[in-house]
Amino acid sequence: MITVKNLSKSYGTNKAVDNISFSVNDGEILGFLGPNGAGKTTTMNMLTGYISSTKGQALLNDIDVLENPIEAKKLIGYLPEHPPLYLDMTVDEYLNFVYSLKKSKLPKRSHLNEICELVKITDMRKRLIRNLSKGYRQRVGLAQALVGNPPILILDEPTVGLDPKQIIEIRSLIKKLGKNHTVILSSHILPEVQAVCDRIVIINKGRIVADDDAGSLSANLSSDHKLIMRIEGNSADIKKLLSGVDKVERVSVGREVEPRVHEYEIEAAQKSDIRRDISKKLANRNFPILMMKSSELTLEEVFLKITTGDIYGNVESVNDDSRPSKKPQNQPKPKGKKK
């Protein structure tokens, strides 16, 4: 259980983190989302006691990080942005060092074996960390965080710099870890957070701009009432046809991408699904659909929308059946309520 109350960090007059509050329940995976320089790393450094807060409080299982740092730090496994690796040690030496550094009481050999299996570095244990690739270094960093089996894991951009296969592996690993750890994970990649986290906190310029569970947030942000299509045929006819579909509010014709094929942007009333109607009508008139997709907002657009209050807070949950795979797996743990 992590509770953050009015946490602030100032560097001179510059407020890196400005009065943020949130809490993470046991067994929850919280995604900490924000663009570069939003204050994600600063917040995590404050949670782990690496730097102090200017104001406010961070409680880990009701232990204040500043008041009782040693006890609080025993609860944490931290993977910072740059994995804190000693390049002159082998993986084995390093993990043994971390094991004794954290004063772990678990049976050493089996515990370390288990971790190495989990993050798949068993083959690399005799290698010098200096000679490992970025992906393996990241895994050793993750292994380090897992040593001593701490109840709270704080992972700062754990998939940065990995190849797509590794990213998927690490994500599924984090999901697995989330079953018996409390996890905070930071990222600037929206789909990543959507794929892994139960709840998402969005932070921008040191302030929390959104805090909600992943399902409803992603529905709010995905704006599936807006479609981008490519249709072959006379653009004027097609525009007229599309405008006639029920609940369609606006149709705009874009550039011609291929001969006789135009791109169309169709906006419908909110909470409506117009895809079936549209495809039926176009099929009837023999206009082939070459592409249809929900317009996805980039993170920058999401921020713009959130900070101007355009989407978030006005829209309730929308059934997002277009991308069930991106929804988080149901977990038997209690979901965090919005603060």
Partner: protein, 239 residues
């Protein structure tokens, strides 16, 4: 704390640093022993005079101990491994003393050559062991002061070279306080500066005076620098 001590100690031998320090130390002490004790032009009759060798070691330590201490905190800061040690359940004091002890033990290993010199000398003449042990005690105390001063400087910067150079300058300042005192005519200021001169106090060891106030002085300076290092790490967190 033991974990950090062990790691730091081993790190001196997985990098060239430990070997370089021990090598340089042995070359100079050996040369001084040969030149100023064994083949000294004006041998003290009937005794084995080691005082010149030990006073020359003052200058060797001044330059070499910073090599030993320069990496202790600056390297961690640069490689960001301090995020591991500072977020581990270890107190800052434990961290600082562990690093100090690691560097200091490398120094002690090198200093172990001194009693061997005594044995060599014993082969040629009567050795007054009390003098040798007194000198070694002085050397060890001096090493402790330099180590903790270097440790403190290392916590100030991310750059190892800068740490080494500033440590040497700091050590020179300790040396020069004596010289400076001579130039300042004002009684109590020059008295104070003389009191802070490591050279003056260390010289007393080399001429065979075993004064407890000097021992206390060296130990307190060591502790003060260890304390300052802890405060410096603390301050970095709060800034």
């Amino acid at each position: 704390m033991i974990a950090i001590l062990k790691r730091e100690f081993i790190a001196y031998f997985t990098t060239p640093l430990g070997y370089v320090f021990i090598g340089v130390y042995l070359i100079f002490s050996g040369a001084f022993f040969y030149l100023f004790t064994l083949t000294s032009a004006t041998p003290s009759v009937g005794s084995a005079d080691v005082s010149v060798m030990f006073s020359m070691m003052f200058f060797v330590l001044m330059v070499t101990v910073p090599i030993l201490t320069m990496r202790l905190f600056s390297e961690e800061k640069k490689n960001k491994t301090d995020q591991l040690t500072l977020t581990a359940p270890v107190s800052l004091f434990g961290l600082v003393t562990a690093k100090f002890t690691a560097a200091f033990s490398i120094f002690l290993i090198s200093t172990a050559v001194m009693p061997i010199f005594g044995l060599v000398l014993n082969h040629f003449s009567d050795v007054r062991w009390a003098i040798i042990w007194g000198n070694i005690a002085g050397l060890v105390l001096l090493g402790a002061v330099y180590t903790s001063a270097g440790l403190f400087v290392s916590a100030l910067t991310e750059n190892q070279m800068v740490a080494a150079i500033i440590s040497i300058l700091l050590n020179v300042a300790f040396l020069l306080s004596n010289v400076l005192a001579a130039y300042i005519g004002i009684g109590f200021i020059s008295d104070m500066l003389t009191d802070f001169s490591l050279l003056a106090r260390y010289s007393e060891f080399t001429i065979g005076i075993f004064d407890f106030s000097n021992i206390l002085f060296f130990l307190s300076i060591t502790v003060v620098f260890l304390f300052l290092t802890v405060r410096m790490l603390e301050r970095k967190r709060w800034s």
